[in-house]
Symmetry: C2
């Protein structure tokens, strides 16, 4: 017996488990679930994702039994509907749609009205009593099928349609009559014949098989792949295929179609939110071609249907206990639900909905925390437009995805990608977006479209990406060819800077002033809940008292990384630093360092004060000395003059300090071992600052961190030095002060010999930036030439500098933790690379048993939430 | 009961196990062993190395029981000798000498004549009947004791001696009489009093205690530490202390002292070899102050003693079954042996002795192979002077350590070190060398001394190091101050180039022509024996047919690494390579590559032919493309002209290709993945060459190696490409050809994910050069600034680029092997970094279970021998 590939859903019998999205896909599971809880759904059947996976395994051949099961399900469907496939009296028509386990809107192919042939169209005319409708459906089917299955571009059909309208002297499709439609059908068929050398298929079962093939194929089209890459979805999942009996929203004014959300997906407010079009097919709403009506209007237009719809949406939300994104069609006054799925929402909405649902008793706090995606809340932490200033607002569209974006205008997705690749921030301006634009949307800071509603492609995708979007901004007139748009008499050319406000829909000329976000209200509350679930500590990487303050307000529980070298550049001290570097001997260096020390001490006083009571990890000098020396002639001359040395001397020093591979050069603790006086100065500054504050009654928790250790001996020597200076200073001030000495684990050798190193370290902080560079042998500064190709070819699932490479770098981190703890069970471990703010990496840190993560101040809330997710999952 | 710290040796009772060098030290074990087999040795006792180790553990305090045991042994000694310590009739005098488990000649301190006081000196005068001798011994003792124990420099005593000789109007010490000696004693004692503020110690037991302390202390003096570092000896071993009753070689002309080897340590010939001095103490021979007589003269001078000596040396060699380096003293016609130890020998001698002893039935082949140190035979593979040419020979000294050296003359050890650090090859020219010079000797190509014999410090140390040395070259007159020497009227100034021939003793002006060595005779035979013991394969790193030929003659069993990029520079092809790099698109690159291909194919034809029947591993292009492009303006202009492009274009390309960290940049398989056409061309060239030869009936075994793989996906893609090209080519030629596709493991991530990678690799070759760079995060090109300091501070025991870092890099190699074999049990594994020719690293490779090592052609014999040692140990 062959495996079960096909699951039927219908009033009398629903085979599939509505919870099993992995098998049935999101859409298929939703249809099965809705049917089984008594919601009106046109019956049909779902071909499983497993069938698709097997299809690819078998070199695109149907797995054994699939076609037979399809035919059997079709027969059941005919019985349920009382119609026959290809019938010339009352034909059964079906839609064929993709449906992956996670929604990929618009990414894969769909065929509607399948089953129409030269014969069955007559049946449809009869059964609907509407010949024009029947032939209109047929010519739409031919176009859609030809585009999706036969690979004949739809513009060729539109060209024929346009010619016909010109010939008839009409403007709208609706002005064409039944005869015109028949003629169109003939012309369309002729086009197909000339393009593929054979007739448009007249066997409905053949049509069905082709359509299923096409949906399977569409799993691996370019835009689907891109979508999966962006959304970190596996290429191995496959898509399900849903074959469902057609209902028609375009049979007259008692028909219609719409999409809606059970709550506002933009703000999260508890209002029924959606749009509908009278006398239209579903694709018309999503494609954004006609601007639809707000759902509220349906209440007046079709009160009975609206009542039904309200009942259904409430039932669905209660059933799923989450916001639902639903599609419906009204066929001659009867409501049919075509889809329900978890509604995508903005971060703001996610936070509000999660919070509200807890208040409503619908979900618990644990669920609420898990409902807010850490990746997404980042957008709440992005700057917002400072509304206290007056801006030059030239247009207002729909506030389709909140936040603010400033960038240069570009007019194609390709340009958006290529400009962004060169480091430009861009706003993608399009009449409307289509699935092909997905790469460009991802690359842009924000999206501005002229047409389309709140549920148009641009709006839905932008919200999913957490990108600011202003949609349906009819006031802008775009000239794609000239790469410009005009609005209110102002012309914005390619490269001109504009600002869009996704929360208000405003389009502003120039760069608006952005202000820092704050943590407050429901978001702050949810983070507090998150804190109760997480076991990982969250610290911040901060080098200044201001950053420390911000981090603390965002909930940081200490500083995980203070990079002292950033302080070296501030103000006058760079002169003393350069004097130190230019000195020919230790005495000269000490003299110069004596000048730097008061500044360093001041830095630490500020930092310790801002972080009073919390641990502050200070990394001693890390970068190679040549980073403090100018390199080009002009700068050398300037600095030489300023510091009173000859340009030749400076140039000679720069040459002497030059390194072939500075990343692997004379830096980190290697500096501390070759010029002990530098680290000594820093350690004195740390402990003098700490002791002074302790004298004032403050609680200070310094943690001295030695960078780039590869051998325990390096750490042993520098730890001894640190302890000596610390003890001497503490004794001198006559205070009591606890402190830690530890190290970065950022070289493979350090992880490999972590048991030796832990003998001398009270904590490990994994510096995964450098650890990634060395483990993978990839220089971050040079990787631009191949890393994108690597991600594209799937060699790396993701940029390993963004999300930790679990199998390589992660293995070393786990090794470091377990070897370290084997000799020092209470070893504190953390991560301070940029991965510390990446949710996937945080999940890894949880698994690896780290004590804390440390990230940039603005990522702290993301990390708190991600840590909670990691603990709960 | 306390531990046993002291072991007595004497005719009636010998406590120590003469085999236990670790406990008794080499000297102590030798004395115990000689005593127990009935060889005349002055009795004494040995304080164990464990006592020394404990002494350091206890902060330089004697371990419990030590002093009591010393006193007890002293009493036994007094009984045995019939003398009393400090006696005024017939005092017992002793020597106090260090003795580590491995000989460190001259590194640690010695005190002779201990036991002399103002009182006992009278006893010595009485018992010897020679007052002058007694006071001479006393004043020598005061000087030695003061130098070693009290820290009063010996030059101060020599100054007093010189003044005395001047006052007496005499030239030699021997011209001073007993009264003079007495006066000297008083003056010496006065110096001691003024220097240390107290009297020279008059209690012999106090003297003994001080002397033992001093020997313990000398274990950690600077030159001993340096010696241990060079010889890879542990700092934790400690030294034994040998307290032995004195015998005197300086009591008259029936006295003498000498050192000898049971075979010639330079050539290995089976002749008794040594030197002696009449009426002298042992230190006089070793220090090289007086030029001694050849041992053969002793036969005429003291036939009876010589006969005894012959008997003893033969007995010793038979007993130890190895060449012995012996010290003896003749006291009034009686022979005493003071030391026996394994004789250090040149590589040439080691080979001959090992070979001869097998022929003599003294040892088996296994022992013979183990007797030849792989580190050492390298010198047999160094170039020799081409004697077919006439040179300007200006002097001839003793051929103290064979081989030839060309370099610039320097006149101090410090200069030798600093010049060598700057990449200069130097010859160290000294009147004589002393233990302080050891660093400079190590840094020099060769050593030339004006005084001292074949067993002088310079000669012994140079032979141990395998360095060429000409000693006792009286014909050169050195002016250290002006940094020059003259000989035969020629002046050689600092920096002038000279050549020394350590096999003939010749000193040559300028650089002599050196010729390549050959493998022949006894050495070839011993390597053949070695081959029967080793389990590791030995291949060579070779890029040309000539290198391959050399490697094959030296016994290479294939090529482990052919670096194709070296071929890219040859002749005209670099132009085509540059054309390829300058091309703006794939088409342009393919056009240029088509020009390179015939050359590449020719290269491989040559290589495969030279290595017929043996495997040849070819690494595809590895270095970043900018290595093929000139960088300075002048070169750019030249190349631009030559290749017909504008200098601007070339400069722009160079800028575009510039990398911050080229080591971690766009290279290796990253090139193959971004420009597949490059690797494709190389793979075609490999397989077309191979197929052509197969057609000619030759056996070809190509192994294609993909470099810098970090993820199995990289390898998967490139392996598929390679197989496709290979299959296509093999089919086109219609031949049968087996080949392998494998990868370098040279990134930590590759080792960490070796199980994934092995799915796609038929072999792993560990590229430990790059693996060391990435694992340690150390750029080889930049490490010069800190690596020497690291080795000095003991952070690295050795330069990790010379000898593999077992605990870090080694761990990854072991991981790579075991993970790789876990999925592919027959995975072939090898090493092709420069470690492949390093004996310690080879021992590691054996332990790690690799199949082969690959090294430079001239290291192949070293590797064969080292692999045998590794298998036998």
């Amino acid at each position: 017996m062959s495996a079960k590939w096909v699951y039927f859903f219908g009033k009398d019998r629903t085979e599939g488990d509505g919870k099993n999205k992995n098998l049935l896909g999101g859409k298929g599971a939703g249809l099965a679930e809705m049917t089984s809880i008594g919601i009106p759904v046109p019956p049909g059947f779902t071909i499983t994702t497993e069938a698709c996976v097997q299809f690819y395994k078998d070199n695109k051949n149907y797995p054994a039994g699939l076609w037979d099961q399809v035919l059997a399900a079709l027969a059941t469907l005919e019985t349920a509907m009382g119609k026959k496939f290809g019938d010339i009296e009352n034909p059964l028509l079906v839609s064929v749609r993709s449906g992956a386990r996670v929604s990929m809107p618009g990414m894969m192919d769909t065929v509607l009205n399948l089953g129409l042939t030269d014969e069955s169209v007559k049946g449809l005319a009869k059964s609907s009593g509407n010949e024009r409708f029947a032939y209109d459906s047929y010519r739409r089917f031919i176009q859609m099928f030809s585009d999706v299955v036969l690979g004949i571009g739809h513009h060729q059909f539109e060209h024929i349609l346009k010619d016909m309208k010109n010939a008839r002297g009409v403007k709208e499709d609706t002005e064409l009559n039944a005869a015109d439609m028949k003629e169109l059908v003939e012309k369309y068929k002729a086009l197909v014949l000339s393009e593929i050398g054979r007739q448009f298929p007249q066997d409905p079962k053949e049509q069905l098989k082709y359509a299923i093939d096409a949906v399977f194929d569409s799993w691996n089209n370019q835009r689907a792949k891109t979508c999966r890459k962006i959304n970190k979805m596996s290429d191995d999942w496959g898509t399900a295929v849903n074959v469902q009996s057609m209902v028609f929203g375009n049979m007259g004014d008692d028909c219609g179609t719409g999409v809606a959300f059970t709550r506002d997906p933009s703000t999260g407010e508890k209002v029924f939110f959606g749009e509908y079009l009278v006398n239209a097919q579903g694709e018309d709403v999503v494609a954004g071609i006609r601007t639809p009506e707000p759902i509220a209007k349906l209440q007046t237009a079709m009160p009975e249907v609206f009542g039904q719809l309200e009942e259904v949406y409430k039932k669905l939300e209660n059933h799923y206990k989450d916001v639902q994104d639903i599609e419906f069609t009204i066929e001659r006054g009867t409501l049919y639900m075509l889809q329900t799925r978890t509604g995508k929402r903005t971060a703001r909405a996610a936070v509000k909905i999660a919070y509200d649902m807890v208040q409503e008793g619908l979900i618990d706090k644990r669920t609420a925390v898990l409902r807010v995606a850490p990746e997404q809340v980042d957008q709440l932490l992005h700057p917002m437009i400072d509304t206290s200033i007056k801006y030059d607002i030239i247009a207002k569209g729909l506030p389709a995805s909140p936040g603010a974006a400033v960038g240069k205008a570009v007019f194609s997705a390709e340009d958006a990608e290529s400009w962004a690749a060169q480091g430009e921030k861009v706003i993608l301006v399009r009449a409307e977006t289509s699935p092909e634009d997905i790469g460009g949307m991802h690359a842009a800071q924000g999206i501005l479209t002229a047409t389309g509603g709140m549920t148009s492609h641009a709006a839905v995708v932008a919200r999913g990406m957490g990108k600011c979007c202003v949609a349906g901004c009819g006031a802008i007139r775009i000239n794609e060819h000239q790469r410009l748009f005009t609005a209110s008499g102002v012309t914005i050319k390619e490269g001109d800077i504009l600002t869009i406000n996704g929360s208000t829909g405003e389009v502003i000329v120039g760069a608006a002033k952005l202000i820092e976000p704050e943590l407050s209200g429901e978001f702050a509350e949810i983070l507090t809940w998150a804190d109760t679930f997480r076991t990982l500590g969250v610290r911040a990487n901060a080098d200044t008292p201001h950053d420390s303050q911000v981090a603390r307000e965002f909930g940081a529980e200490g500083i995980g990384l203070c990079r002292t070298e950033h302080m070296f550049f501030d103000g006058n001290r760079i002169d003393a630093v350069r004097e130190m570097i230019l000195a020919d001997n230790e005495e000269g260096r000490r003299k110069a360092l004596a000048k730097v020390k008061p500044y360093q001490k001041e830095d630490f006083l500020g930092l310790f004060t801002a972080m009073e009571g919390l641990p502050v990890t200070i990394r001693l000098l890390d970068p190679p000395l040549h980073e403090f020396i100018p390199h080009n002639d002009e700068e050398i001359d300037r600095v030489a003059k300023a510091s009173g040395v000859s340009a030749e001397h400076l140039k000679a020093k720069a040459t002497e300090l030059h390194e072939f591979n500075p990343m692997l050069g004379h830096r980190g603790c290697r500096l501390g071992l070759t010029y002990p006086e530098i680290y000594e100065m820093q350690v004195y500054a740390i402990f003098e600052a700490a002791c002074e504050l302790v004298k004032q009654g403050k609680v200070v928790k310094p943690e001295v961190m030695i960078p780039l250790v590869g051998s325990y001996k390096e750490l042993e020597i520098l730890k001894d030095m640190t302890n000596e200076v610390a003890q001497e200073t503490i004794a001198r001030y006559g205070v009591k002060l606890d402190y830690l000495v530890g190290t970065m684990i950022e070289l493979p050798r350090a992880a490999l010999t972590a048991n030796e190193i832990a003998e001398h370290a009270q904590f490990f902080s994994f510096g995964t930036n450098d650890l990634t560079q060395t483990t993978l042998g990839v220089s971050r500064d040079d990787a631009g030439k191949f890393l994108p190709i690597y991600v594209e070819k799937g060699i790396f699932k993701e940029d390993p500098f963004v999300s930790i490479d679990v199998s390589g770098v992660g293995q070393l981190v786990e090794m470091g933790v377990s070897k370290g703890r084997s000799v020092r069970p209470d070893l504190k471990t953390g991560i301070c690379g940029e991965h510390g703010g990446d949710p996937d990496s945080i999940a890894f840190c949880q698994k690896a048993g780290l004590n804390y993560v440390s990230c940039s101040p603005f990522r702290v809330p993301v990390a708190r939430l991600a840590a909670a997710h990691a603990a709960l999952k």
